[in-house]
Amino acid sequence: MPKAPPRSAAPKPDPALQSLLDVHEATLPNGLRVRLLANPQTPVVSLYTFFQVGSRNERPGITGISHLFEHMMFNGAKKYGPKQFDRVLESNGGRSNAYTSTDMTVYYDDFSSDALETVLDLESDRMRSLRISDANLASEREVVKEERRVRVDNEITGMLDEELGTLVYKAHPYRWPVIGWMADIENISRQDCEEYFRTYYAPNNAVLYISGDIDPKKTLALIRRYYGDIPKGPRPLPVVDAEPSQKGERRAVIRHPAQSPSLMVGFRGPRATAPDAQVLDVIQYALNKGEGSRLVKGLVYEQQLAVSVMLDWGWRIDPGAIVFYMELKPGSDPQKVEAALYAELERVAREGLTERELQKAKNNLRADHFRELGTNTGRAHALGNYEALLGSWRSLLELPGHYAAITNEQVKAAAAKYFAPEGRSVVTLLPVPESESESETAAA
């Protein structure tokens, strides 16, 4: 795993953050890492388990298995059988959920602090001895297909995003959607799932984060008792980033019944550990955070070319995508807004931001950082997220210092590098009438 961000500036840990984050750390002999954070303010606890596996660990034929598997983790283990996990948790004053991304699979529980031991029992049971039955898998597969229908097949941004992934990436697993291709979801077998479990759900591939009304010492003793006997697993194979460099613009068109055209533009960014990742955070805030940000003010209010504009830039282990989405008015020309977007991006590369914009972005990054830490779930998640992407949760303490040191020169250089025309991928949705799509379906 990568080490912490840029050494050059070497900022000090932020004192305000440090007082909030008095984290107790431990590693069990089986490799399970544990991070505990006491916060007695309210009698509730959040527990997160981060497994270092996501769609980037998949291969064609079983795309979507990380996510389907995430569902299977709720379907019964040795001690707590089918339906028991949620039932026991809820009836003890807790709730649970999970999500899968390209890089990680994350399970979380919020619960009354009374229920701590029960939750550790439930969580360690499924890490130790998950049981997968054909019947459960068959039923859960149908649930995931419905999820795909609602998120992608019947959702315009889902459709565009899926198409864009295949343009931005040619070789890297980021190419396919986290939820997987429909035929692959159909194809995943029980054996595939069991192998996945053995490989990626071993304690040495997981980190446990607990924040809330706990006594760290007693909690660690409980964790040793419940998780200590889970055997270590093999070391998962590293993921190869075989993505070739892009040699020119890539474009795709989607024809679909819709009221308006829309546009999604993607660029390949740096990996999370690269210093540029944080420079792009600053650029993202300056371009898209708030009504007064450049793109909202320029494209929506002044030029009135878009109804809304969104910039998505999220850190990933391997180089992630910087994605712009523009929602347009009925009858508008997507080429116009596309040109206007590129003009804004070129301006950043040429002139950078104003000093005030730069300071504003930094102020907002800092305020959002504190907001993120306002809840137990936010704190536990932040620790896990930074550890998974940057290699250590401590990076979180240094982040405000890194942001504060970012200069306009860095902004210009990053914009020039990452928004270069030959590196972009563009998906345009062009509306077709309902009837036309009907006949297309009929012919197919």
Binding site: P43, S91, G93, S101, D153, N154, E291, A367, L373
Partner: protein, 468 residues
């Protein structure tokens, strides 16, 4: 990112109680809101402040009795349209200057309208609290509503209404709102519709502001790292000029006890769909109703939690949907009990039948004592989350005042919940779980769905464009 969640019930309701609760349990530890200080500005605005750390942040919300139910009859959406325009220029600041003032320091400003209330929300780093409160004061007391901003907002709204037609879940919700409440002031989406918004003028907006946006009946709540004395003093500075001589007396919407399209099926045709959105609803109760606790506990077992009967029957047993939930939507003049879900086109009828059968079982037999205890423990265990952040504390303080829930609402919540008996659950189930046929809205591919729905009730098919 993909996740596993249910279709989140629209409005949750949570908390816990004791009974045979374990020893010195967290659930029985008293839950208290931070101490509250009250003041009133010279212009008559009520202010409540609660100091709360440790983060150097402050949350505030200004809540007014000017929800979508106060929209003029032929101007549906005007409250929402107006509140969004408040930040687009005042007598002293342009829209850009307001954005810059708020956004430069890392504060945020948002607005929202529900059926009953209009709200403006600000969160800010604590050191900028006075400046942000001053901006908030300006927005409500002296907005300029520049003509070009009104026009731009109208154009954007119209484009948004058109684009919303491509979002199956949004259109289904709109159709459902109309099916439930018909001509009642709750019967339109809070954002209105294209045909009404198209007629909005600057004078409409300015009149709405004169008549509805004033200190009478309004409440400012401030929670976070700021002293109550500072809140009172700064509120006086910021809101002293907010004197509204033409403000109308805030009124409640007339109470409503039935749903408009009971027993009828509304099929919204969207031919490109591979999945149907389904909404089913009947009458519920108004906010603050004594049935709240029994009904909430019952609903957790029926369709509120992840282990509920609906989730089990629809998602776990049959794999029919990724999400299903039931909820009570309680407003000041009435409320609904509703189910929301979706499934592939071919199983549209099946999902409706399964949902209605589960509802009927609980209506006739209630839930088991064991289910009740589990629901009570679940809600009570998680209730403290309602007091975890400045925002959530501000939210519950505002609800207590605006809806008259009682000052001891938070402290007693878990005890009241624990006191619910199986018999009360049975009564609530019989009363609210569709004793009369519900209104059903389906959005999907009508050519395949219509024949499936035969026998459920009279069917009306409408195109999605009906809901622009």
């Amino acid at each position: 990112m993909a996740s596993r969640p249910r279709a989140a019930p629209k409005k949750a309701a949570a908390s816990r109680s004791r009974a045979a609760a374990p020893k010195k349990s967290a659930a029985s530890r008293p839950l208290k809101l931070p101490e509250v200080s009250e003041s009133t500005t010279s212009s008559g605005l009520q202010v409540i402040a609660a100091e709360r750390g440790p983060l150097p942040l402050v949350s505030m919300r200004l809540v007014l009795r000017a929800g979508s139910a106060t929209d003029p009859k032929d101007k549906a959406g005007l409250a929402d349209f107006t509140v969004r325009l408040l930040r687009r220029g005042t007598a002293r600041m342009s829209a850009d200057e307001i954005d810059e003032a708020v956004e430069f320091v890392g504060a945020s400003l948002a607005t929202g309208v529900s059926e009953d209330l209009m709200s403006l929300y600000v969160t800010t780093p604590a050191e900028h609290f006075p400046a942000m409160l001053a901006v908030l004061g300006q927005l409500v007391s002296e907005p300029a509503f520049p003509e070009k901003e009104v026009e731009l907002a109208r154009e954007r709204s119209l484009a948004q209404f058109a684009n919303d037609l491509d979002d199956p879940s949004t259109v289904a919700d709109r159709a459902f709102t109309r099916a439930l409440w018909g001509d009642h002031p709750y019967g339109h989406d809070v954002g209105g519709s294209a045909s009404h918004v198209r007629t909005f003028t600057r004078e409409d907006v300015a009149r709405f502001h004169r008549e509805r946006i004033g200190p009478k009946g309004a409440l400012l709540v401030v929670v976070g790292a700021v002293k109550p004395e500072v809140v009172a003093a700064e509120a006086e500075k910021a809101f002293a000029p907010w004197v509204r001589t033409e403000q109308l007396e805030p009124v409640r919407a007339p109470s409503v006890e039935v749903v408009a399209q009971a027993g009828r099926i509304l099929l919204v045709d969207k031919p490109d769909q591979t999945q149907s959105q389904v909404r089913i609803g009947g009458p519920g109760y108004r906010i603050g109703h004594p049935d709240y606790f029994a009904a909430t506990a019952m609903n957790i077992s029926l369709g509120g939690g992840f282990t509920s009967r609906l989730v089990n029957a629809i998602r776990v047993e049959r794999g029919l949907s990724y999400g299903v939930g039931s909820y009570f939507d309680a407003m000041q003049a009435g409320g609904a009990f509703a189910i929301s879900t979706f499934t592939k086109t071919a199983s549209t009828r099946e999902i409706i039948d399964v949902a209605l059968a589960e509802v009927a079982k609980v209506r006739k037999g209630g839930t088991t004592p064991r289910e009740l205890l589990a629901a009570q423990t679940y809600l009570a265990g998680l209730y403290p989350l309602r007091t975890e952040t400045n925002d959530s504390v501000a939210s519950v303080l505002a609800d207590i005042r605006m809806h008259g829930l009682g000052e001891d609402w938070v402290e007693l919540f878990r005890d009241r919940l624990r006191a619910v008996t199986p018999k009360q659950v049975k009564l609530a189930a019989a009363k609210y779980l569709f004793p009369q046929p519900p209104a059903i809205v389906v959005l999907g591919k009508a050519s395949e769905v219509q024949k499936q729905l035969k026998g459920l009730g009279p069917i009306t098919v409408v195109p999605v464009s009906e809901y622009e």
